[in-house]
Symmetry: C2
Subunit: 357 residues, 2 copies
């Protein structure tokens, strides 16, 4: 990245969404302002989307919203989902619609076990060097919405869900994952699937990995069934470097990955369109947590680390790394100091911003 490429303004769409979503995105923006200082201006446009909008208007995401969102450099999203809205309406109509419409085919979910951070694992049994990234496919698989049901509500009901996997869709995400593995010190890629049962999709994924591997001779490749990954993640998470997998397996694996590396309060993600034909979207892995909304208990760290991924995507590696360092220092402080451990959402954001100003 040369200086010429550095943007002078970042034009962000902000979708706070539901529950704790707006609370954590506010802290993410606070930290973004702090890290950029006067060098780069941040312009934000808030989009009121989620449960409140749906209750008020019946709309989830209109075509006009989508076109407006498309015009920004990137999107910062908080969380989507509320128990007052029927299951699936916001998740599919808003979150998944954005991922699909903006062609976010790389759903990037890094996991790093910071020293001192609480993990449910027995630290004595695992290596300290847990640092891997899941490249989750974002636009195919069982998430395509190609299911359907007949005779609903009768004893003869049949409800199907179809996982769609294309050579086009699998190859582009596998290629992205290889490039990421190539750029990391360990240069290792693990395909995660269940090809002994899901033979058609599984064999497409395998063949694609074998083919793309030829273009990345330095990357070592292995394979693990998704069920075996469950075991590896709790017994030996340090074995992983880059994992590539489908949309549903990626969803499941990354929640476990988050849980063992400090919890979903720390897990960031990027919904990335590597071709840059539309803005990418950055969001914490956690949900809207309506039970703690408004209490100040939400940890904004995942949103802050999502901002770091956003900066990285825009080519701003230096401020991205400074955020990651500030978070590491803050987590150190929090693990050493009981008072710091009980800080509120805004206090965590303030502490991070203070480190960066």
């Amino acid at each position: 990245m040369t200086a010429a490429d550095t943007p002078s303004t970042i034009d962000l769409a902000v979708i706070g969404g539901d529950g704790i979503g707006p609370e954590v995105t506010a802290e993410g923006l606070k930290v973004l302002d702090a890290v950029l200082g006067d060098d780069i201006a941040v312009r934000t446009t808030e989009y009121q989307l989620g449960a409140a909008r749906w209750h008020a208007t019946g709309e989830v995401l209109t075509d006009a919203d989508l076109e407006a969102i498309r015009s920004h450099d990137a999107i910062l999203l908080g969380a989507v989902g509320d128990p007052s809205v029927p299951s699936g309406v916001l998740e599919r109509g808003l979150l998944l619609r954005l991922r699909f419409a903006l062609d976010h085919y790389v759903n990037l979910r890094p996991s790093h076990l910071y020293p001192g951070v609480a993990t449910p694992l027995d630290r004595a049994q695992i290596s300290d060097e847990v640092d891997f990234v899941v490249v989750r496919e974002g636009t195919e698989g069982p998430y395509v919405g190609n299911g359907g049901a007949i005779r609903v509500g009768t004893p003869a009901e049949v409800a199907n869900e179809v996982s769609v996997n294309t050579a086009f869709g699998v190859e582009r995400v596998v290629r992205d994952a290889f490039a990421r593995a190539q750029a990391r010190p360990r240069k290792k890629l693990t395909l995660v699937h269940k090809h002994n049962v899901l033979v058609h999709a599984g064999h497409l994924w395998r063949r694609t990995v074998d083919k793309v591997a030829q273009d990345f001779p330095e990357v070592s490749v292995d394979y693990a069934h998704v069920d075996a990954v469950m075991i590896y993640l709790v017994n030996d998470p340090a074995r992983f470097d880059v994992l590539v997998t489908d949309n549903l397996f990626g969803d499941i694996v990354t929640d476990l990955a988050a849980a063992i590396t400090g919890g979903i309060g720390l897990a960031a993600s990027g919904n990335i369109n590597p071709d840059r034909t539309a803005p990418s979207m950055f969001e914490p892995v956690h949900g809207s947590a309506p039970d703690i909304a408004g209490t100040g208990k939400a940890d904004p760290t995942a949103a802050v680390l999502s901002v770091a991924l956003l900066l990285e995507h825009l080519g701003l590696d230096d401020p991205a790394q400074r955020i990651a360092q500030a978070v590491a220092a803050d987590l150190d402080e929090r693990s050493a100091d009981a008072a710091a451990l009980s800080r509120s959402t805004a206090e965590i954001g303030d502490a991070l911003a203070a480190r960066l100003s």
Copy 2:
């Protein structure tokens, strides 16, 4: 169960299968003989199925095999799968064919964290009372083999996998899970799915749980997305009592459940036909582990506990409980004594048999 129901002979089909499979079933049978003593005779018929048979004959499971297997009271299976056989051939042609043909719609997978047993979790952070059972649907979902692919090997390939869920199939397994919850002290049932994305299948599962719940007013019911279950299982596994879920989610969740409760060396399972229209099949959750086959390193405890589930299914609760107690005592001994910790497959079987004779 009255004395009149007690069988005088148990007629077992034994499918050792691949890798460590035959080694662990041998110990299972040793323990079975020991616990039954002279009270009940065990007649076993070995079926040579798996990789060796496939290499020799090209056959996986013939119709004649299947009919012969059907005639037994129950099946004890070791493990299926070998790297020398193309992925899916044995898994789908043998293991899944048996589960489907014999209508094993309840795949029962109990998890119990024995005191002193090694777990990757930090014991200080979790309750000691981890004791739950996953009721995994065994004859539907993404396991039905209704996928397919077009233009295979070309850049225009599309590979689909279809998850089929029927009111008939979902209701019978949900009903079984409720009956199991009802019979347990805590009487709690958790539906595990992903109904915010897989809306058709997910809503069928939810509606079915709501409906069947009316027949089990004492059972308390809740719901968790499969990704959230990942987090719960490592942070607070004691929250679960009975979980009911589909075939694929059940596969994934039970490997994590096994990993946190002592590893797959201890995880038993029953593929149960509750209507008793065909024999049920009992097998360790672990695979064939070809890397340790023949070394005597395999822990036969999962196969032994599968024998206990087999006895329970045949109404022989007393010997089933005695096996469970012997295993608990043996695990205690193993955790206290380094020499006992390094016992071989046969030595573990001998030690358990000795406790029961």
